[in-house]
Symmetry: C2
């Protein structure tokens, strides 16, 4: 695959996560890459195309991470910790996650991008739920709630704590993440 194409996706993702979908333009990308506006359209004819590709890339990256954890024999706790680490990194970079950024602009997204975003959310929630169920069976986690609700709350907590923490100066973000998962 083309290097420029990959750079556009990467830059687009970072722009969405820092400025938001409706605040970034093809000009932002082309200027940064030292190419012309039309060159971005060459790879992604419309902004919808780019948006959808960015979400698809994120899904792929997540699935690769999960596969990677399996092949390394990570247990459920280690897998959950790895997931939380993604958010710790986002917090350090002062960026939102792709779900949180696009969720706010959901009503302005086109159908295909929406569908992919929904799919991504469902994939993560399913993975989280599975991990919670198996981890509980293995007595790695202790909790009383429905695994599905618990998964939903962990994801919501991660997504919004990035958003809210951006508005708070002093914040023990790591501690907040620990409390959110709070699986003894």
């Amino acid at each position: 695959m083309s290097v420029t194409r990959e750079k556009i996706i990467e830059l687009g993702e970072n722009l969405i996560r820092s400025k938001g979908y409706n605040a970034f333009s093809y000009q932002d990308i082309s200027t940064e890459l030292g190419i012309k506006n039309a060159a971005v359209h060459y790879y992604f004819p419309t902004k919808e195309n780019l948006g959808t590709s960015i979400v698809k890339t994120n899904i792929q990256r997540f699935e690769e991470m999960v596969e990677n954890m399996h092949s390394h024999g990570f247990n459920e706790r280690q897998q959950l910790d790895t997931f939380v680490k993604i958010y710790l990194k986002s917090h350090r970079e002062q960026k939102l996650c792709i779900i949180g950024s696009l969720a706010s602009d959901f009503n302005t997204l086109n159908e295909t991008t929406r569908t992919e975003l929904k799919r991504m959310t469902e994939i993560i929630l399913k993975w989280l739920t599975d991990i919670l169920v198996t981890g509980k069976e293995k007595k790695l986690f202790v909790f009383d709630e429905e695994p599905q609700s618990k998964a939903f709350i962990i994801l919501s907590g991660m997504v919004a704590s990035l958003q809210v923490s951006r508005m708070m100066d002093k914040m023990d973000y790591k501690n907040v993440c620990q409390t959110i998962i709070s699986l003894k």
Copy 2:
């Protein structure tokens, strides 16, 4: 105060909460109100003015709600339930809360709107923390975490559950809220 002015603020708030700050225009407002674009600028010269006024109005509304609860002798549990009800209503209306919507666009907001949004977040978090502390003293709530962390997690949970639930079809949102506060 002018009726038109109030209508603009109300409409602007709803537009931010459904489309996002960078996706709505003065045209959206003027068309809906049957007035001209310039009439909106008459009341709010710049979009920054409008954004700031919308946040300020929300702060005022929140403070009035708190005063109202105090004068009605609501205990801490009743107060927390009232707070959660705001989010249940938002969920029914398929809208985000003002904090969640603007948090995503935070980096594109001007300084004054940012400051007001920060102030609003701090006011809510302080109120939540106080309620948790007092409610725990009165043995209305039982929890082990730091009240500040708990307050942060409750707010984050409410904010993001609106965002994430918008992407999920079937959802027991009320149950999720109950689990988030999960104060026995």
